[in-house]
Every structure is written in C-alpha cells, then in structure tokens.
C-alpha cells in the first residue's frame, strides 16, 4: 500500500484530510451553540416578549453572577452539588449497567426481574423519600441514593435494550471461541451495548442534575439546588437564574465530557 501512497498529489491529500479537519472545526464551534440560547433570552427579555420580572435578561443577572464568583459563594455550592452528583451517578450507573447486562442476556432473569423493575420504576421518588431518609439518614447519603435510583433505571433499560440488540452472530462467535458466561458479558454484550449505554449515561447525566436540584430543594444547606430554591422562596429572581444557568452548564459539560469519552471508547460507531 505504502508503495503507492506517494502518488496522491499534495492537493488530493489536502482534499482527503479536509473533511476530518472541517469536522473537527465544526464540532468545536458547535460546542458554543448554547450561547445562542442566552442571546435569544436576552433579546426576548429586552424586547419584553417575556416578563422581565420573571425572566431578567442574562445581562442583568451577569452582575449577580460575577458577585457570587468573586465572593466564592458559588463555588461552595457547585462543589457540594458536584460531589453529590458524581457519587450518586456512579452508585446508580454501575449496578444499572451490570443488571442491564444480566437482564439483556438471560431470558429467565428478564422474565423474573423485568416485571419487578417495571413495577418499582414508576414509584414516585417523593413517596419513597421517607423510607430512604429512615435508612440512609438526612445527610448526603440519602441524596446519593435518590440520584442513584434515577440513574439506575436509565442505565438498566438502556443497557438491557442494547444487549438485546446484540447481533446473534457475535454471541455465536463468543460461544464458539470458548467464552465463559462472564467473558460473554464483558467482551461481547458490554461493547456491543456501548452505544446504548452511552445514551443511558447521557440521559442519566442530565437527570442527575435535575434530581439533585430537587433533592437539594429541601434538606440541604448547600448545593446549587438549595441555592435556586432559597432564591425562589424569596423571589430573588436573578440569583435564581444564576443557579439555573450554573446547573445547566454543569449538566452540559458533563454531557459533553461523556461525548468525548464515547468518541474514544466507541470508535467504530458514527458520532
């Protein structure tokens, strides 16, 4: 092959590599597209399309934001939220993925456990919160658990769905190559379900911020969710929006990070 590689003209090589470069550029630019949202919001608010009392323009909340940054106040809240989210996320994702693999591969497990999970899933979190508080106390542990539950189901169903779509031939190859049950799990079902698992991880990332915001509404003295709630209670609208922007930025960067990881881990899929 290398014999003839030289024969492509300079221009052709440039043309050949151009799409990948253009793609990289576009992708980088696209990361900034959420700024459009802020612009839209600014304009709508300035033109009074939306009620400024409830939706102050970003330019108006920037001052509050800056002040919270310089006083370091915001960082404590971010730190608390990030800690809770990351612990809860991992606590939910790992069992979710593992059980998803089991349920995806084993029909009997699916038959017995599937309906049980289907019945547990819609149980309102707020209803089981008392139970969680009793078991895990009023501290961070119960917040981890609340997040973990939400994350768990997203990964359970996405992993299971992914595993069940594994082409039979891959399982046949594994069996013929002498794979143990465990090897089939981690070397066939897992990689084959990775694109779906990443869908689950992305959804779970967004959800954990939504859930933590709810969990921090009450029963917390720190965290961005607490901060949003406290601002709302006192109708401190611009502080509240600082909180909302911060939490959605955190979620956004988490989803972005997952995308980068996926690109590395799933190079055979389209992105």
């Amino acid at each position: 092959m290398s014999l003839v590689t030289a024969k492509l003209t300079e221009e052709q090589i440039r043309e050949l590599k151009a799409p990948a470069q253009r793609e990289r550029l576009f992708r980088t630019i696209s990361y900034f597209s959420p700024i459009l949202l802020l612009l839209l919001w600014e304009v709508a608010s300035q033109l009074n399309v939306i009620d400024r009392r409830f939706f102050p323009p970003p330019s108006a909340i920037a001052g509050t934001f800056w002040q919270m940054i310089t006083s370091f106040e915001i960082f404590d809240h971010i730190g608390a939220t990030l800690r809770r989210v990351s612990v809860g996320y991992v606590m939910g994702a790992i069992p979710g993925i593992l059980l998803g693999l089991v349920l995806g591969l084993s029909q009997p497990a699916r038959r017995v456990l599937g309906p049980i999970f289907a019945a547990l899933y819609p149980v309102p979190k707020i209803a089981i919160l008392p139970l969680i508080l009793l078991i895990f106390g009023v501290g961070d542990a119960s917040k981890f658990v609340v997040i973990a539950i939400g994350v768990f189901f997203l990964l359970l169903y996405n992993t299971m769905g992914g595993v069940m779509q594994t082409p039979q031939i891959y399982l046949d190859v594994a069996k013929n190559a002498g794979a143990t049950r465990l090897q089939t799990f981690f070397r066939i079902a897992l990689p084959s379900a990775l694109p779906n698992i990443f869908t689950g991880l992305r959804l779970a990332a967004g959800s954990s911020y939504i859930i933590i915001a709810a969990a921090e509404f009450l029963g917390a003295r720190s965290g961005v969710g607490f901060f949003i709630w406290a601002s709302w209670q006192t109708f401190a609208v611009s502080r509240m929006f600082v909180g909302i922007v911060v939490i959605s930025a955190l979620g956004y960067f988490t989803i972005l990070a997952l995308e980068l990881i996926e690109r590395k881990l799933v190079p055979w899929a389209k992105h």
């Binding site: 029963g219 209670q233 109708f235 401190a236």
Partner: protein
C-alpha cells in the same frame, strides 16, 4: 452524671428557625454544654417520622393535621417547647395577599373573593389554617372560594398571569411581591398569637438524657430572647440567618418575623383551636382531642428557664 450525648437537630432553612442558627453559630450550645449538629430537612411528616424512629434526636416542625395524626398513630416523640408563633402586631410575617391584577379589577375586601381562586400552600398545615382565618374576616370559609394548592414561588407566577386572585404568603416573599408590583397585603391581623411550630425530641432520648435536653433548651431560649428583643437589627445575626436560609442580607432587613413566648411555653389554646379546625375539615383520622399533654414535657422547659435565669 450523663456524658455529652450527640443531638442531631432537624431544621428547615426558614427565618423562623433563626434561634437555632444563632445558638449554634454564636456558641450558645457549647456554652450550655450540648453537642448539637443542625441538619436540614423537609416537611413535618418526615421530621416526626425521623424522631419517632429514633434516627434523629430532635427537630422543629409545624402544627397541623399531620402532626396531630402522627401523635395519634403513636409516634414516640416528646414536645418540649414552642419554636415560633405569630406576633400580635402588624405587619404580619405571613400576610394574606391579593394580586395586583385583582386589586386593579376591584377586589378590595375579603368578601369580594367569594368564588375566586385563592392560593394555599397545602392541605392540613398552617397555610390552610391561616387562609381560613383570613377568609373568616370577610365571613367566608375555604369552601366559598376555589382553593388552589400552590407554594409561594408559584404564587408569584399565578399572580402575574391571573391564575390566582389571592393567596397565602410569607416574608420575605411577601415584600418582594409588593416590590415587583405583583400583589398587595389584604389581611394581616388574622393569625395573632397563633402557635406555628414546636421543638420535639425522640421520647426515649428525652427519658434517658433529660439534662442534655434542658441544656439544649436553655441555649435555645437564650438565642430566642436575643432575637425577640431586637436581635434582628444586629448585623451579625442577619449574616448568620442569611447563610442558613440562602437569602441575601438585604432582603432580611425590614420585614416582620415570627416570635416566641418569653419562656418558650406553648399556648395550648391556640393548638387546640387548630386541631378543632382540622377536625372540622375532616383531615383528622381520629375522634376526640389528641392527648397532647402526654407528649408535652413542660417540666423540662421549666428547668431550662431556671438554668437561664441562674446564669
């Protein structure tokens, strides 16, 4: 005789709980030799549940159908003191408000609200009681209006888009509604002296650690008196409360606050009145009066008062 037991105390991030914030941050708990951690919590039902199960030793919560029902269900708690009550003065910390739009449309009195939409934070609690009391001023009951369950933040939106004509509110939210031109105070003298909340402990804990409870109460009383005697003007106090409630200091200034009886005792008449109210509404799961005396340990409060007086 007893060593220093740990007390985990459940609070909500509202200014009503300020005495506990002060007692903790100004070192009064240390001064009286109690080891207290403050933990944030949500509603009354959870608080009672955590206390009754013994997972947590102490907490403050508000009166209401939930509390009455849980005592009746055999919750093993001991109530030891008041934590907040409404003052006998205006402005009220929890005014009944009318939306600016409704005001402009000519609603000026409580009577005008007949058949209109009124916001209430929820059934079975102080908000419901307070709204009923306000409506009573115009000879109405809750059944004469369209009750809509909405907490304060949502009330603002509902005032703005005409979803509500009137509703319950609480400071500093009420002040903000006024400032933004969304609503105005309609009734402020409807809940004079109403008992709002109480301090409770796990029953077994109280029985085995009486001294610790007394010390806790002493520290609380000290902080409470400081607050109720002009403490809100103190910059340091505002700072502490701002931190616990996540509210800006500037907002905490110039609003009315709930108070406490000087000696921390509970006005049982007010409590009985609330119980009667909820019974009438059918929110109670039992017949007859709940046996509050069996759970109210006023003797400890007495010792605490003596202890404070000694110092």
């Amino acid at each position: 005789a007893e060593d220093k037991p740990k007390i985990e105390f459940l609070y909500s991030p509202f200014a009503d709980y300020a005495p506990f914030f002060l007692a903790e941050d100004l070192g009064y708990f240390d001064e009286y030799g109690v080891d207290v951690t403050l933990s944030p919590k949500s509603g009354t039902a959870e608080t009672i549940q955590m206390l009754a199960s013994g997972n947590v030793q102490a907490g403050a919560a508000t009166w209401g159908a939930g509390l009455f029902n849980s005592i009746n269900a055999g919750a093993t708690v001991a109530i030891v003191a008041t934590s907040a009550k409404m003052p006998n003065t205006v402005p009220s910390p929890s005014p009944f408000m009318v939306s600016q739009a409704a005001w402009d449309a000519g609603i000026r009195t409580v009577q005008d609200l007949k058949g209109k939409r009124v916001g209430i934070p929820g059934p079975g609690g102080f908000g419901m009681y307070s709204v009923a009391k306000a409506l009573e001023k115009g000879g109405l009951t809750v059944d004469d209006v369209e009750a809509i369950y909405l907490p304060p933040p949502a009330t603002a939106a509902a005032f703005a888009n005409g979803g509500l004509e009137a509703g319950w509110s609480i400071e500093p939210f009420a002040l903000q509604l006024e400032r933004e031109g969304l609503g105005r105070r309609l009734v402020e003298d409807h809940t004079f002296g109403t008992e709002l909340g109480f301090i409770a402990f796990n029953k077994e804990f109280v029985e085995s650690h009486e001294d610790a409870v007394v010390n806790f109460l002493a520290a609380y009383l000290k902080a409470a008196r400081q607050l109720d005697n002009g403490g809100w003007k103190d910059e340091r106090v505002l700072e502490i409360v701002a931190r616990y409630t996540g509210t800006e200091k500037s907002l905490l200034q110039g609003i009315a606050y709930t108070i406490r009886s000087e000696d921390g005792s509970i006005d049982l008449n007010s409590v009985r009145e609330q119980e009667a109210f909820f019974r009438k509404r059918g929110d109670l799961e039992y017949k007859g009066d709940v046996d509050i005396n069996s759970v109210y340990r006023s003797d400890l409060l007495k010792r605490a008062n003596e202890l404070v007086a000694k110092k």
